[in-house]
């Protein structure tokens, strides 16, 4: 994959039902309206789930790490992980490079985990609130 310049994280807001969602070519996933407005948000999110693949889609290195991250307004992003596999609730920096979302753990890296180890499940603590 070629490196592309990172752009600010931008979400979409539906003009009809006011849903917030990840931009796409499709209409609003809630109501089908085609009138949507982009708006920038901070590049911070938290880990909802993450996985390490031994056989990713063609063209990606092995192992390949993916994270489902929650960013501002509860919107979720599927992103390629740069660095170690994050644990559930771990904070992340999320950015868009070209047409690919990428995520990087915030703060000191917890260290590389072994092959295939899962993010630890944690008891619910104070929920991570992305800055607005």
């Amino acid at each position: 994959m070629t490196k592309a310049a990172a752009t600010p994280l931008v979400l979409s807001r539906c003009a009809a039902c006011h849903s917030r969602f990840l931009p796409s070519d499709a209409p609003c996933p809630r109501c089908g309206s085609v009138e949507t407005h982009p708006y920038p948000v901070p590049d911070l999110g938290r880990t909802v789930a993450a996985t390490e693949l031994s056989a990713p889609a063609p063209g990606w290195p092995v192992p390949h790490r993916l994270v489902l991250a929650e960013v501002a307004d509860g919107v979720r992003v599927l992103a390629v992980v740069d660095g170690p596999l994050p644990s559930i609730s771990d904070p992340l920096h999320v950015r868009l490079e070209g047409d690919t979302y990428r995520a990087r753990p915030v703060g000191p890296a917890p260290g590389e985990r072994g092959e295939g180890e899962s993010p630890k499940t944690r008891r619910a603590g104070p929920s991570f609130e992305p800055p607005r």
């Binding site: 996933p29 993450a50 996985t51 390490e52 979720r76």
Partner: protein, 377 residues
Amino acid sequence: MSAHVASVGIGRFGKRSEGLVELAAEAGALALEGVGRKPIDLLVVGSMLSHGASGREPLLPRLASRLSLEAASGLRAESTSATGAMAFHTAYDALETGRYERALVVAVEKMTDASTPEVTAELASALHPEEVRHGATMPALAALVTQRYLERHELPLSAIDRPSVHARAMAARNPNAMFQTPVTDTDVAASRMVASPLRLLHCSAIADGAVGVVLERGTGPATVLGTGQGFESMRIVDRPDLTSFAATRIAAQRAYEAAGITRKELGVVEVHDAFAPFPLIHLEDLGICGPGEGAQWYDRGWVSLDGRLPVNPSGGLIGRGHPIAASSLAGIAEVAAQLRGEAGRHATASLPKIGLAHAVGGLASHNFVTILGGAAP
């Protein structure tokens, strides 16, 4: 107007030397023999990949020719791993119009003549392109669902091992299943990691296979009581909840309403266990148990042949193997065979009167529920 499953035909699932059309013809011929070669006026076929030596094959006319069904009308259905169920629903809807008397439904997949990376790439077409662009595969997204499910219900990782052990135990009784040997929790936990936390034995296997079903007007032990289907967003980022599949809940509600029954009347169930954690979610979405209770059903043996509600007595996708389009018709065929007393060594302890077959298309973006039973309401 009523319609019932009059016959089922299933060849052995696994690595087969025959080609796509030959596999489909084998299952179709078995089903036709089951009704004494009575005339067929509708042929409905389903296949997702349609591999052949030179790529895609024109399956419908070739199968009609092989089975001498040139006098029938033909339709083709496709909705990824729910293709077989969709073909069955299409045939049922066609019979309901009164235009047809008897339909042969065949679902088939030939997968083992392609490499695993090739098949993986083709199966990714059942996912949203934006997510595939990030390197996502079916096991990857299933792994994310699994983590959310375990986290939400505070379940240990071992909760997802039990469905694999159950599937392989059931498959060992099914001569048409790909896997004929049982496995233990230790085997599952020691198998190779595919997409954490999913290991090899948590995942259904690439397989060749075909299923044929004759559906005809009238009633019998496997009368179609209700059908339903539902959609959910293909992009998992747009789903408000990953621990439940809306497409199943919608399909189940429609099927239960059409059948005029509740889940308490079910005597056997086949659910789409492409990945071991999924049957836990399916049991919950079908209303068979409450949220987070699916694992308990496996732990306590309530899903076994003599349990509270036998689940996947055929071995399911994990035990039978997963020839993509054929699997969901195999689930319907299994329920029909159970109701008709034709399930052999994997028959439930008591003859069920009503059964449910559940199918998943893609990552649960297009799901189907079929309810069969002894008499039309």
